[in-house]
Amino acid sequence: MSGFWTELDRRLGLSECIGACRAHRVPGKASWLRVWACVMVFAVIVQAVTGFFLWMYYSPGAQSAWESVYYMQNQVAGGWLLRAVHHYSAHVLLAAVMLYVLQTVLTAAYRAPRELAFWAALGVGCFALGAIITGDLLYWDQNGYTSTKVRTSFLNLLPGVGQSLLALATGGGPDLGNLTLTRFFALHVGLLGGGTIALALAHAYLTRRADQMETEGTAGEPWWPNQAWISSTACLVFIVVVFALSLRHGVSGPHRGVFHGSPADPAGSFDAARPEWMLVGVYELSHMFPPSLSIVPIFIVPGAVLAFFLLMPWIASWPIGRMVNIAGTLGLLAIVVGLTCFSYYKDAVNEPHQKAWAAERELAVRVRQLAEAKGIPPSGALTLLRDDPKVQGPRLFAQHCASCHNYSAPEGKAILAEKSSAPEMHGFATRKWVSGFFHVKTITGPDYFGNTAFRNGEMVGAVKDWWKEAGDDQEAVAELTKELEAVAAALSAEAQLPAQREVDQRDKELIASGLKSIDAMCVDCHRFHKAKGGGAPDLTGYGSREWLHGIIANPADPRFYGKSNDRMPAYRDILTAREIDLLTEWLRGEWFEPAAE
């Protein structure tokens, strides 16, 4: 048997290799300052392994990228952790490279014979940054999409070749799309991922060579086992940090691991886009330059900084070169940290920005609810949002209705007109809302007809008459109040609001008496089922889906206000039938909500 192993070893050369490792000596003593080569190789192995398994789930396409990440994040057992470890190990690797470069500058360890190792470390940093930037798009969520759109647009700043580079990066479409994803994916995995691995290995090799050159003739300390022990502990620290970051949002809930926002919408707007932490300094710097000089903060300054680091081994040969390198690095560090903190502080006190982020987090939760309940159609998760009254209702209302109507919902959900001049729409067709028409003070107030052409109309006249008739007679007032409560209940029941289903069921008698009162009080002007009044809006099915869709589509239809219609336009000319449906469903509080846990 031992003969077999000997023969195998002769072919593989394993014991030679192990022997060389054990014989390898580090200059001076084993030290925590010499762990970086090992940590970098370890980090790229983590990247490669987690990346390989992510690859098995990821699908780069405009209708499948977000969806496959959603699947990983929510359906695949432990998929969220896989994503998180891949994500954070890249970020921690970049942070480690930064620390390593800082240490190298302070100790002047870039000097001969370590120039190439230093450059390889800078290369690892650049490639890891590239992998982080391209990976950002692959989630295909709003922040990744918008950030990439912003970043790629900066290529236009490069004179001459800018637009061609942009087309090559994004695939040449007017928006980022399928081709951007396939290109970024190939770049991310093949060029940047592969390049980071190659450079980390090259760095380890070059460091080893330099160790050998430096320990020639001197003793040094054997790499095995002291340095090996310190280095593997450093790798353990690395992975502990990565897991601590991965688990910091808990192990359950919608935001565990790495945040996955709402699906990218090329036609939508996203107000909260910000770059990753390592680019925030440049982002803030770019604010300090006019557009004609944008190329300076985006390309020239970062390029000059990289050149400065690359030239350090040479600068160090000047009389005060080492001090120049150290002062330059510390100065840069102070500026970048300062700009970054300033930028984060600005955003923290920027209320619209915080609101935009809160809205995005809410949307991310919403799309997950819809995907879980309904499944994602082949047209992608964006369809779920575009077809959701809860999401689209407020947007359509804000765009098309809120120039006149208020929607005074509580808890920051209100959509208010600059100057409300038409009825309040929050709580539309509920009993409370309907009963507002039956009191002089409310119907003539701003929440009903106060600011409309109907301020002095027949309805207001009728309401005044009812109360005048009741006069000061407390009994009559009580009776009228009771009757109008019944009318409100009956009219509101016509709407068949989902939120009132149970009350409507319960109050059958009240509603029946209300129906009788409507037949007695309202049908001179209003049509109601069999009663054929005219001139005022039909109350049959008042506030129902069909009724509400109808009045939004054309309020001047004879069934509604006819010729007496005030300013409200016919939205069938402005919105699609589906958009009117979404608005209708939202106003009626008709949308999917997951059962409470």
Partner: protein
């Protein structure tokens, strides 16, 4: 070592033959490598060969009645067909425009792309005490209601991109919807 005729030639020729062999080895290897690389790079460069300069289509956006009389801008989604490489979408939201009546010119409407000419974020309208402004949340570019930059040092290289508007039948608003190259001081229509 045997000396045969036609064997090792004079040193000068031997050297030349050695050089030729090396050159041939490198040349053949390089050629073999260039061919597949060229095929790949050629396909990679495809986006550069696409026809440029899209004119955009005139699209019906809304009706005149839906715009406030006082010239307050309103945002409207634009729906059109969209092609993304191998996918064709019919009647999809493709972007949005701001529309506003031009004060003092009844029946006249101005249209702007909501996309910021700087880096492509979506510009918002904000009411202010001075009658409102356009504002981009990404890099804080601000514009007045005519779309002109108002910051002393604006991040945006040009004013907001206005779009061609046609009012048909006295109330239908049609807009030529186009995207423009970002981050350039000139307004260049995208393909």
């Amino acid at each position: 070592m045997s000396e045969t005729p036609g064997g090792p030639a004079a040193p000068c020729c031997q050297q030349r033959r050695g050089f030729l062999e090396k050159a041939a080895a490198i040349g053949a290897g390089a050629l073999a490598l260039v061919a597949p690389l060229g095929v790949g790079v050629n396909a990679f460069l495809h986006p550069l060969r696409k026809a440029g300069g899209g004119d955009g289509d005139l699209l019906k956006i809304t009706s005149l009645e839906s715009l406030p009389e006082d010239g307050t801008p309103r945002k409207f989604n634009v729906t059109a067909d969209r092609v993304d490489a191998w996918n064709r979408f019919t009647n999809e939201p493709v972007g949005a425009v701001f529309l506003r009546r031009i004060p003092g010119q009844p029946g006249k409407v101005a249209a702007f792309q909501v996309t910021c000419p700087h880096a492509g974020c979506a510009i918002n309208y904000e009411p202010t005490d001075q009658g409102g402004r356009f504002f981009c949340p990404c890099h804080t570019a601000a514009f007045d209601l005519e779309g002109r930059r108002t910051d002393a040092v604006s991040p945006s290289p040009r004013d907001m991109d206005d779009l061609e508007v046609e009012v048909r039948n006295e109330h239908e608003i049609w807009v030529r919807f186009q995207h423009f190259v970002l981050n350039k001081s000139e307004k260049i229509a995208k393909a």
